[in-house]
C-alpha cells in the first residue's frame, strides 16, 4: 500500500504497457491467463481440484458429513465455504483466523455457488428435518500471483463436480455423484490507470484502484457480483466487464467442463 521508489517504477511500467494493450506476461488487456485444472488430487477428500491460473495455484477439497439441516430449510443440505490464505502462498498472508480478505473471497465464491444454484441442495437431504449432508468447500491458496477469486471459484466448481457423496462411509447407501445443476463461473477485472483489465496478476493488483468480480451462468445470466478496493467504476466499464465475463464463462465451460469431461 505504501509508496516507494521501486513500486513507483513498477506502477509506471505496468501502466505504460496497459496503455498499449500489453501486459507483463504478453497478454492483452482483456485476456485471462492459461488455466489448468487437476481434479481428484486429494484422495482423502470427497472431491478436490488443484487449479493453476497463470502462477496462482489454489487447491479446493470437499468434505461431507451427516448433520442436521437449518431449521428454515429442513429439506436441504448445507454448503459451507471457507478460504484460507495460508502464509505458505505469500509473504503477505498471515497465520491465524481468516482475515477480511479471506472472508471476502470465501463469501464471493459461496455467493456464486449458492445464487447460481450450482448444487441441488434438496438432493443433499437424507431425512427432511433430521439428516442432511453438510458439505465443506475448503479453499487453500498455495501460490499467490493475483486473482484468487477466479482461481478459487473454478477450483470449487471443479471439486464439487468431481465429488462423490460418501454415503457408504456413513452407512447411508451407495456413493453417488454430487448433484450439480449449474456451473457458475467467475471473472475478475481490475481497473488500472483508467483501463479495465482481466485477471490481474499480483503486480497488477498492487497498482489497481478497483476490482470487479462477475459470476455468470450457462444462459448468460448473472448470479453474483462484487466490487472491491477504494476506486470506482463507470456504468460503461461494468457493462464491458459483464460482456467479457459471459464470454469467459462459456469458454471455461466448453474447454473444461464439457459433458464428456
Amino acid at each position: 500500500m505504501t509508496s516507494n521508489p521501486l513500486s513507483d517504477i513498477m506502477r509506471e511500467h505496468i501502466c505504460k504497457l496497459i496503455s498499449k494493450d500489453q501486459r507483463q506476461d504478453d497478454r492483452t488487456r482483456e485476456e485471462f491467463r492459461p488455466l489448468t485444472i487437476t481434479t481428484g488430487y486429494v484422495s482423502s477428500a470427497e472431491g478436490s481440484a488443484l487449479v493453476s491460473l497463470g502462477n496462482t495455484k489454489v487447491l479446493v477439497g470437499i468434505k461431507s458429513i451427516v448433520g442436521e439441516p437449518f431449521s428454515d430449510t429442513p429439506d436441504k443440505g448445507v454448503l459451507t465455504t471457507n478460504a484460507e490464505l495460508k502464509p505458505l502462498a505469500s509473504e503477505n498472508f498471515e497465520s491465524g483466523p481468516p482475515d477480511e480478505e479471506s472472508i471476502e473471497i470465501a463469501r464471493v465464491v459461496d455467493r456464486g455457488l449458492r445464487e447460481g444454484k450450482a448444487v441441488d441442495l434438496e438432493k443433499l437431504c437424507i431425512t427432511p428435518g433430521e439428516e442432511v449432508w453438510i458439505n465443506f468447500v475448503d479453499i487453500h491458496a498455495l501460490d499467490y500471483d493475483g486473482n484468487l477469486f477466479d482461481a478459487a471459484n473454478i477450483a470449487a466448481v471443479a471439486a464439487l463436480r468431481s465429488a462423490m457423496i460418501p454415503a457408504s462411509r456413513f452407512e447411508k447407501g451407495e456413493d453417488t455423484h454430487f448433484p450439480m445443476v449449474h456451473l457458475p463461473i467467475s471473472a475478475t477485472f481490475a481497473k488500472i490507470d483508467g483501463y479495465l483489465i482481466a485477471d490481474p496478476c499480483v503486480d497488477e493488483e498492487n497498482v489497481a484502484s478497483a476490482r470487479l468480480t462477475v459470476v455468470t451462468l450457462e444462459n448468460g445470466n448473472l448470479c453474483a457480483m462484487q466490487k472491491g478496493l477504494g476506486g470506482s467504476f463507470t456504468k460503461q466499464e461494468i457493462e464491458k466487464a459483464i460482456e467479457l465475463s459471459v464470454r469467459w464463462g462459456q469458454k471455461i465451460r466448453s474447454e473444461h467442463f464439457s459433458e464428456g469431461d
Binding site: 505504501t2 470487479l212 462484487q226 472491491g228 477504494g230 470506482s232 456504468k235
Partner: protein, 279 residues
C-alpha cells in the same frame, strides 16, 4: 437472496408491493446529522424500519501501528448489528457477513475522503444497526458519509447508496425484508452523485444482463434522491438551525415519527422529478 419460496404475493394486481409502494418507490427516509456528543461526527438514519447510527472519530493516530500508511489516512469502518436489531437474536461480535460489509464500506468511503491530507492517521467509522429490515448496508453507508461530513473530514462528495432488486419477475427499488427473503435478486449500489462513479456494487440472485441494467439505473436514480436528503440533513444542522445544534437521537426519532406522513406525501411528488434530474 433467501431463496425460500412463499405463497405471499409480493406484487399485487395493481403492480403495488406488500407495503403499498410502487416498484420504483423508496421507503420513507429521514436523516439527522450530529446526533452524538462524544463522536467527532455522527448521523442517524431512519429508512423504512431500519434504524442506523453512524459515528466518526478522526483523523487520529492509527492503531495498530502496522496498519499506518505513511502516504495517507486509512478509513476503517466497523459495521455492527445490535443483537436485538433482528427477529432472531444475533450473537454479539463480528460475523463473516459484517466483516465483509465493513470492508466494502471502508473501501467505498476511501474513494471520497481526501486521505492524502492526513498521512499515518486513521479515520474510524462505526455503524450500529439498531433495528434492521433489509438494506442496512446502504443505510449504513448513507449515514456514514453524512457523519464524515459532520466530522468536518474533507471529502470530494458524499456517497449515496440504495439497492434495487427483483421480486415476482419485477425490478423494484429498495427491498424490504420479505422482498429480500422471498425475492429473486438484490443489487446494493453506492455512487458518488457529482460524478456518477460507482463505489459500491454487489449483486446476488438471478438477473439477465438487461434486468441488471434496469436495476442499476433504478438504484442510481434513487441515489440522487437520497443525496438530496443527505444534503438537507447537513443543511438542517449547519444552516437552518445554527443555534440549535443539540439534536439528539430521541428527538430525531420523534421528529421522524411526526414527519413520516408528511414525507410520504412529499416523496410522491418529489421523486419523479429527482429521477429525471438524476439521469
Amino acid at each position: 437472496m433467501g431463496g425460500i419460496t412463499t405463497d405471499i404475493k409480493l406484487i399485487d394486481e395493481k403492480g403495488l408491493r406488500l407495503d403499498g409502494r410502487r416498484p420504483d418507490e423508496l421507503r420513507p427516509l429521514k436523516i439527522e446529522a450530529g446526533v452524538l456528543r462524544r463522536a467527532d461526527g455522527s448521523a442517524y438514519v431512519e429508512w423504512g424500519e431500519n434504524k442506523v447510527l453512524a459515528a466518526v472519530y478522526g483523523p487520529r493516530e492509527c492503531h495498530p501501528r502496522h496498519r499506518q500508511n505513511p502516504a495517507r489516512a486509512i478509513v476503517q469502518c466497523n459495521y455492527n448489528m445490535a443483537s436485538f436489531s433482528v427477529s432472531d437474536r444475533k450473537r454479539p461480535g463480528p460475523d463473516r457477513r459484517s466483516q465483509e460489509i465493513s470492508k466494502i464500506i471502508s473501501e467505498a468511503l476511501e474513494h471520497v475522503v481526501f486521505t492524502h491530507l492526513f498521512p499515518r492517521t486513521s479515520i474510524d467509522v462505526y455503524i450500529e444497526v439498531l433495528q434492521a429490515n433489509a438494506g442496512t448496508r446502504c443505510a449504513g453507508l448513507t449515514a456514514a458519509s453524512v457523519a464524515l461530513a459532520d466530522a468536518g473530514v474533507p471529502m470530494k462528495d458524499l456517497i449515496a447508496s440504495c439497492a434495487a432488486g427483483k421480486v415476482a419477475d419485477t425490478i423494484i427499488l429498495d427491498l424490504r425484508k420479505e422482498e429480500d427473503n422471498f425475492g429473486q435478486a438484490d443489487v446494493p449500489l453506492g455512487i458518488v452523485p457529482r460524478t456518477g462513479e460507482i463505489v459500491l456494487l454487489q449483486m446476488d440472485g438471478d438477473l439477465t444482463v438487461e434486468e441488471f441494467n434496469t436495476a442499476l439505473t433504478m438504484a442510481t436514480d434513487a441515489c440522487y434522491r437520497i443525496y438530496e436528503t443527505q444534503k438537507d440533513a447537513l443543511r438542517q444542522k449547519y444552516c437552518v438551525s445554527k443555534d440549535d445544534i443539540a439534536g439528539d437521537i430521541e428527538e430525531a426519532a420523534e421528529n421522524i415519527e411526526e414527519s413520516k406522513k408528511e414525507n410520504e406525501l412529499e416523496q410522491q411528488d418529489d421523486v419523479p422529478d429527482d429521477q429525471e434530474g438524476g439521469q
